[in-house]
C-alpha cells in the first residue's frame, strides 16, 4: 500500500531528474557524433561513435599537460588548506593566548569581502615573485582559507575536552595532542573540507585566467575556455573535451558524496 502511494512522488522526481540530466545526455551523445551528424536536423539519435573526437582534443591543445596542472593545483591547495586550517582551528578552539578572539574575527572578516578586492594586489604579488605562468602562482593564494578555518574550528569545538586530558597529563605538548589525538578524531571534518576544496579548486576559472595565459601552464578550466575560443563551432570535439575535463570531479563526487553533502549542509547550518 505504501509503495502504491509513493508512485506519484517517484514520477515527479524522475521527470525532474531526467530534465536535470538531459544536458549531460546531449553532451555525451554529441561527443560521439561526427561533425555532419551533429549538425543535422532533425537530430541523429544513434551516433556513429566517432572516438576520434576524443583524440582530437589532445591535438587541439596540451590537454594532458593541463590535466596534470589541474591535479597538482587541486592537490596542493587542498592539502595545504587541510593542514594550515586545522592547525590554526585547533589553536582557536582549544588554546588560550592573548588576542585569540580578535585575530579570529579579523580572519573571518575575509569572508565578508567580495573576491574582487583581493585580486589586483594578489596578481601584483604573484607577478613580483616571478610566478606568472607557473604552478606556484596558481596554487599559493588558494592555500589559505578563512572558511576552512571556521569550519574546522566548529568541528573541534564539538569534540569533548576529556579526550585531550589524558594526553595533556602525560605532558604532551599542544602540537603533539593536535597531531596524534585531535586530527584522527577530526577525520569527518577534514574529509568534508577536503571534498569542498577539491571541487572549488578543480573548477576555479577566474584566477587561472588572470595569472596563467600560457596554455602549457593552464589548468583544464582555462584550457577549455581557450579551446572553445579556437574551435568555436566544432561541437563534437568541444563536448569530448568538456566531458573528459569534468569526468574526474564527477567520479570524486559519486565516491565522496556523503562527505560533500555534509560539508554543504554545514555551510547551511552555521
Amino acid at each position: 500500500m505504501r509503495s502504491g502511494r509513493l508512485w506519484p512522488v517517484h514520477l515527479v522526481l524522475a521527470v525532474g531528474a531526467a530534465a536535470m540530466v538531459m544536458p549531460f545526455f546531449w553532451q555525451v551523445l554529441t561527443a560521439l557524433k561526427s561533425f555532419t551528424e551533429a549538425t543535422r536536423m532533425p537530430p541523429v539519435w544513434i551516433p556513429s561513435f566517432e572516438w576520434s573526437n576524443f583524440a582530437e582534443v589532445f591535438e587541439a591543445g596540451p590537454f594532458l599537460r593541463q590535466f596534470g596542472n589541474t591535479v597538482v593545483m587541486t592537490a596542493g591547495r587542498t592539502l595545504a588548506q587541510l593542514l594550515f586550517c586545522s592547525l590554526a582551528a585547533y589553536a582557536f578552539a582549544r588554546l588560550r593566548f592573548p588576542g585569540r578572539n580578535v585575530i579570529f574575527i579579523a580572519l573571518l572578516s575575509v569572508l565578508m569581502v567580495p573576491g574582487q578586492l583581493f585580486l589586483i594586489p594578489q596578481y601584483q604579488i604573484v607577478q613580483s615573485l616571478g610566478w606568472l605562468n607557473t604552478l606556484p602562482g596558481l596554487i599559493v593564494p588558494g592555500m589559505f582559507s578563512a572558511f576552512g578555518t571556521f569550519m574546522m574550528r566548529q568541528f573541534f569545538m564539538t569534540l569533548p575536552a576529556e579526550v585531550e586530558e589524558a594526553a595533556r597529563l602525560d605532558g604532551a605538548n599542544p602540537l603533539r595532542i593536535f597531531w596524534s589525538v585531535m586530527l584522527p578524531l577530526a577525520r569527518p571534518g577534514l574529509l568534508a573540507l577536503g571534498v569542498l576544496t577539491v571541487l572549488w579548486s578543480w573548477n576555479d576559472l577566474m584566477w587561472p585566467l588572470i595569472v596563467n595565459t600560457d596554455p602549457e601552464q593552464m589548468p583544464l578550466s582555462a584550457g577549455l575556455s581557450a579551446l572553445q575560443g579556437e574551435h568555436m563551432t566544432d561541437y563534437p570535439v568541444l563536448m569530448a573535451g568538456s566531458l573528459m575535463a569534468s569526468a574526474p570531479i564527477i567520479v570524486v563526487f559519486v565516491i565522496m558524496q556523503k562527505q560533500l553533502i555534509q560539508g554543504i549542509a554545514f555551510t547551511g547550518s552555521k
Binding site: 512522488v9 549531460f24 582557536f92 588560550r96 576559472l205 575535463a245
Partner: protein, 312 residues
C-alpha cells in the same frame, strides 16, 4: 607511608606544576600554530583589501606608477552607463535565480518523503550540475542553445515555435544564462533544504495527521514555516552569488557575441577593466562599490528576515 601512597603523593604534587608549566607556554604554541594561516591570509587577503582601497583613489600610468586622484575613479564608476547596465543585469540575474528556490524546496520535500527509496540516486542526479566544471557547463549549454542545431529549438519546433539563437540574441541572452544558473543551483539548494527538513521534529507531523491535516496542509502549515531559516540562508547566498556572477557570462558572451555589450555583469566588467584594459585604479573603485552594495543588501535581508523567518 607506603610506596603506593608516596607515588600518589608525588604525582599529585607534580601534576599541577607540570600543567602550570604547559599553561605558561600555551600562548607560544597558540601563536606558532596559527602563524602559517595568519601569514597567508594576511599577505594574500587582508593586506590586499587595504591596498585595493588605496588603489581606488589612484590612477595608474603605463609604467606602473600610481598617482593620487582623490574621488575621480568613484565619480567615473558611478556615472559610467556601462556600470549602471552591468548592475541592472546583475540584479536581474540574481533575482531570476531566486525563482529556482521553490523548485529546490519541492525537490527536497519530495526526497524527504518517508519510506521513499532511491533517495541517494535521485540526489546524485540533481546534484551533478553543481559539481560540473563551469567551463564544461558553458559549452554544453551554448550547444543546447544553438540557433540552428540546438536541442532546445528542435524541441520548441514541435510546439510550432521558431527559437532564436538564445545566447547571441540580446533580448534573450540574460534569461538564457539565468536558466543555466538555476540549473546549477537546484541540487545545492536542495541539499541545504534537506538538512533543514531533517531538523523539523516528526511529532509535529504526527500531531497534525491525528488532527486530520493532509500532506499539503502539513507542508504549508509546518514544513514551510519551520524551513524559513534555510530559505533565508539560501536567499542570502543566492543574492551574494548572483552579485558575483562571472564564469558563465565570461564563457558564453565572448568577443564577437552580439549580446556581449548587453549582458555584462559587475564582476565580468571588473575583470575586463582590471586585467584586460589595465585600469587598475578604476577597477579597484568598482570593487569597493560592489562591496558596499553587497553589504547594504545583506543588511537589508537581515532586517527583513524578522518579518518572515521563524526560528523554532
Amino acid at each position: 607511608m607506603s610506596a603506593l601512597d608516596r607515588a600518589v603523593a608525588v604525582r599529585a604534587a607534580a601534576r599541577p606544576s607540570a600543567r602550570r608549566r604547559l599553561r605558561d607556554r600555551e600562548w607560544v604554541w597558540g601563536y606558532a600554530m596559527i602563524a602559517p594561516l595568519v601569514l597567508g591570509l594576511g599577505v594574500f587577503y587582508l593586506w590586499p583589501v587595504a591596498q585595493s582601497v588605496y588603489y581606488s583613489f589612484t590612477e595608474w600610468t603605463l609604467f606602473g606608477d600610481a598617482t593620487w586622484i582623490g574621488l575621480d575613479n568613484y565619480r567615473q564608476v558611478l556615472t559610467d552607463p556601462a556600470n549602471a547596465k552591468a548592475l541592472r543585469n546583475t540584479f536581474l540575474y540574481g533575482g531570476l535565480t531566486l525563482l529556482g528556490i521553490p523548485v529546490s524546496i519541492a525537490v527536497a520535500a519530495l526526497l524527504g518523503t518517508r519510506g521513499l527509496k532511491l533517495v541517494s540516486f535521485y540526489r546524485t542526479l540533481y546534484f551533478l550540475p553543481v559539481v560540473t566544471m563551469p567551463a564544461a557547463v558553458a559549452m554544453i549549454w551554448s550547444w543546447l542553445y544553438n540557433g540552428d542545431y540546438g536541442l532546445i529549438n528542435y524541441a520548441l519546433s514541435f510546439a510550432g515555435i521558431e527559437g532564436t539563437s538564445w545566447i547571441a540574441d540580446p533580448d534573450t541572452a540574460l534569461y538564457a544564462v539565468a536558466v543555466v544558473g538555476i540549473w546549477t543551483q537546484i541540487g545545492y539548494n536542495a541539499v541545504i533544504f534537506m538538512a533543514g527538513l531533517q531538523s523539523i521534529p516528526s511529532h509535529l507531523y504526527e500531531a497534525a495527521s491525528i488532527d486530520g491535516a493532509g500532506r499539503v496542509r502539513q507542508f504549508f502549515g509546518i514544513t514551510l514555516p519551520l524551513l524559513s531559516p534555510s530559505v533565508f540562508f539560501v536567499s542570502v547566498l543566492s543574492v551574494i552569488n548572483g552579485l558575483q556572477m562571472f564564469d558563465l557570462v565570461y564563457l558564453l558572451f565572448r568577443k564577437g557575441n552580439p549580446a556581449r555589450e548587453e549582458t555584462q555583469t559587475v564582476v565580468s566588467l571588473f575583470f575586463s577593466r582590471a586585467f584586460e584594459e589595465g585600469a587598475k585604479g578604476y577597477a579597484a573603485a568598482m570593487a569597493v562599490v560592489l562591496m558596499l552594495i553587497t553589504l547594504a543588501l545583506t543588511v537589508f535581508q537581515f532586517r527583513m528576515q524578522k518579518r518572515w523567518v521563524h526560528y523554532a
